[in-house]
């Protein structure tokens, strides 16, 4: 199945697929950020793939000069009972990824969480608010340069 997925994707999007990797039978396909919605729509609609569920979105801070952040989409196909990890890379200067709420409505909260934790913006998201941290909070806690002990006074006490 893993081979079918990579072949289908490479045949349909030869310029978009940046690479694929298999580790412990988990397939990861890296695609160009701008082409993400088209690839996602194809993965969902193509009958031989049929990835109809978005299970999770995982942001990763690689803490490197170029393409610092990764966004991983864990997809699941109900028909083929198969997982797939779709990966895009973004720069620190303009961490913007097109939203996938139009493809899978469930992306809404996962994208909010990724925005909350990493400051990655999702262009076209209907309601990009923080999910866990308060709205006034200025930092992105899961970035590697955010200290484990937190930043003093970054969480204001409630007004009296």
């Amino acid at each position: 199945m893993n081979q079918v997925i990579t072949e289908r994707l490479q045949a349909r999007f030869p310029a978009s697929v940046r690479g694929s990797e298999e580790f412990r039978n988990d397939l990861t396909v890296t695609v160009r950020t701008a082409d993400l919605p088209a690839v996602a729509q194809f993965l969902k609609d193509d009958p031989t793939l049929a990835f109809d569920m978005l299970i999770d979105i995982v942001g990763v801070d690689r803490f490197r000069e170029a393409e610092r952040f990764e966004v991983n989409y864990t997809l699941y196909s109900l028909e083929h009972k198969k997982y797939l990890r779709l990966k895009v890379l973004v720069n620190e200067e303009d961490p913007t990824v097109p939203t996938l709420t139009g493809v899978w409505p469930g992306a809404n909260w996962h994208e909010r969480e990724t925005f909350d934790m990493f400051g990655i913006k999702f262009a076209g998201h209907p309601d990009l608010r923080r999910l866990y941290m308060p709205e006034e909070f200025e930092y992105f806690p899961l970035r590697k340069d955010f200290p484990l002990m937190g930043i003093p006074d970054s969480l204001p006490l409630p007004r009296r």
């Binding site: 412990r24 569920m53 864990t74 409505p105 923080r130 866990y132 955010f146 484990l148």
Partner: protein, 418 residues
């Protein structure tokens, strides 16, 4: 001053008091005659610290905005800064109604990263853990849902059953609640004959006790009226939102990871995947009831088939040695020292391992850079995703439906907020 203006000023005072910082959340077009009700985070029917902002037109719910994060403890950040073994106790505190299955889900993810497989006996014990946790969690779910709609007796009866399971936990791992029982490549300690005896006793009584619980509600007009056709979500919406667990199965999708991507020894065990098609609060309740019966079936099979043998994988550089050997043998002492100080150092790579926990798909994504702690660990919590369906489920219903629907979603905020 006329009566009219004083009434208006009173109204604006009330509005001003309502629209302080706690209620200024965008809810689409504001309408003047709507009321914004703040439910939670301290409301007993929200099962913890879930906060809902509800826009009401009379008694009809027009919009709902769930607010999360009141129990956010930053577990993913903690995971990045602690070793793989060190994180096991934190998994107890995710879904605190079924800690045993969280432990197992986490160690399965780490073992997938390591490429380790535990011996068969350990796999059977883990199945027992997962299913006991599922029954214990579903008992709270059904009981508290019934309590939320007014049937208090059911909660007391289901908690009585749950106590028996917690007593087994106590004998099995020394803790009733925060179990931390699974270990990477094994288990904390072996299953004992006393546990077998207790579980056997429990399984003998459980079907009858569950039947009694069901009898309380089966023909209960109040319960049925409050749950039937309430909180409906269509099959397409449920799949699109990524809902999992009893909610998805109540919507007619037979997705169960124990069957679909088998882990442990589930493919050797015989059980049904329960599905209903009504997709309302009552259907979710009945899916949970039926799943408990299936879990009891699995427990009986696993108990009968559990082989003798070791419970730890023979990989000294990955699996913590037994404590008595650490104190008496040189090799084990060295391994223990290295494992505690440098960690297990799995290969570089990314894995995702999902398991079917009581609430739905509990999964861990681990990004390893080859050192003793994960570079990134993401918890895929079923409660969080399931809660994202609340706005759809509640819209157009009555205000009194809210508690029934939250009960049927069965969120645990420790897991939803991480």
């Amino acid at each position: 001053m006329s009566a009219r203006t004083s009434e208006e000023s009173k109204k604006s005072q009330i509005l001003a008091a309502l629209e302080d910082q706690d209620t200024t959340v965008t809810m689409g077009d504001p309408l003047e005659n709507d009321m914004v009700l703040n439910m939670g985070p301290q409301h007993p029917a929200t099962h913890g610290v879930l906060r809902l902002l509800v826009r009401l037109d009379g008694e009809t719910v027009k919009a709902v905005v769930p607010e999360l994060g009141y129990l956010h403890r930053g577990y993913e950040k903690i995971a990045e800064n602690s070793g793989y073994h060190e994180f096991i106790p934190h998994t107890d505190r995710l879904d605190y109604l079924s800690p045993l299955s969280n432990n197992v889900a986490y160690v399965l993810a780490v073992e997938k990263l390591l490429g380790t497989e535990v011996p068969e006996r350990a796999q059977y014990i883990r199945v027992l853990c997962c299913e006991m946790a599922r029954i214990a969690s579903h008992l709270v779910a059904t009981g508290s849902m019934a309590m939320d709609v007014g049937a208090l007796t059911v909660l007391l009866w289901t908690f009585r059953e749950r106590e028996k399971l917690l007593d087994i936990y106590d004998v099995l791992c020394g803790a009733r609640f925060t179990t931390s029982y699974a270990r990477i490549g094994g288990l904390q300690q072996d299953w004992t004959p006393q546990c077998t005896e207790m579980l056997d006793h429990f399984l003998g009584e459980f079907p009858q006790d569950l039947e009694e619980v069901e009898q309380l509600l089966r023909a209960n007009r109040i319960f049925i009226d409050r749950c039937e056709d309430v909180g409906y979500i269509s099959r397409e919406d449920a799949i699109g939102l990524g809902l999992t667990g009893p909610i998805l199965r109540a919507a007619g999708v037979p997705r169960d990871l124990r069957r679909d991507s088998p882990y442990l020894v589930y493919n050797a065990l015989d059980f049904e995947v329960i599905t209903l098609s009504e997709s309302d609060a009552l259907a979710r309740f009945y899916v949970r009831l039926a799943e408990m019966k299936e879990s009891a079936k699995i427990l009986r099979q696993a108990l009968d088939r559990m082989p003798a043998g070791p419970i730890h994988a023979h990989e000294p550089k990955k699996v913590l040695p037994r404590k008595d050997r650490v104190y008496t043998r040189m090799e084990e002492l060295i391994h223990d020292f290295m494992l505690i100080n440098t960690g297990i150092n799995p290969p570089v790579g990314e894995i995702y391992q999902g398991t079917e926990s009581s609430k739905g798909e509990l999964g861990f994504t681990i990004v390893s850079d080859g050192t003793g702690h994960p570079w990134r660990m993401k918890i895929r919590s079923p409660s969080m995703t399931n809660l994202s369906a609340l706005p759809l489920m509640l819209k157009g219903g009555m205000i009194s439906d809210i508690v029934a629907v939250i009960g049927s979603v069965d969120p645990v905020m420790g897991e939803a907020d991480k």
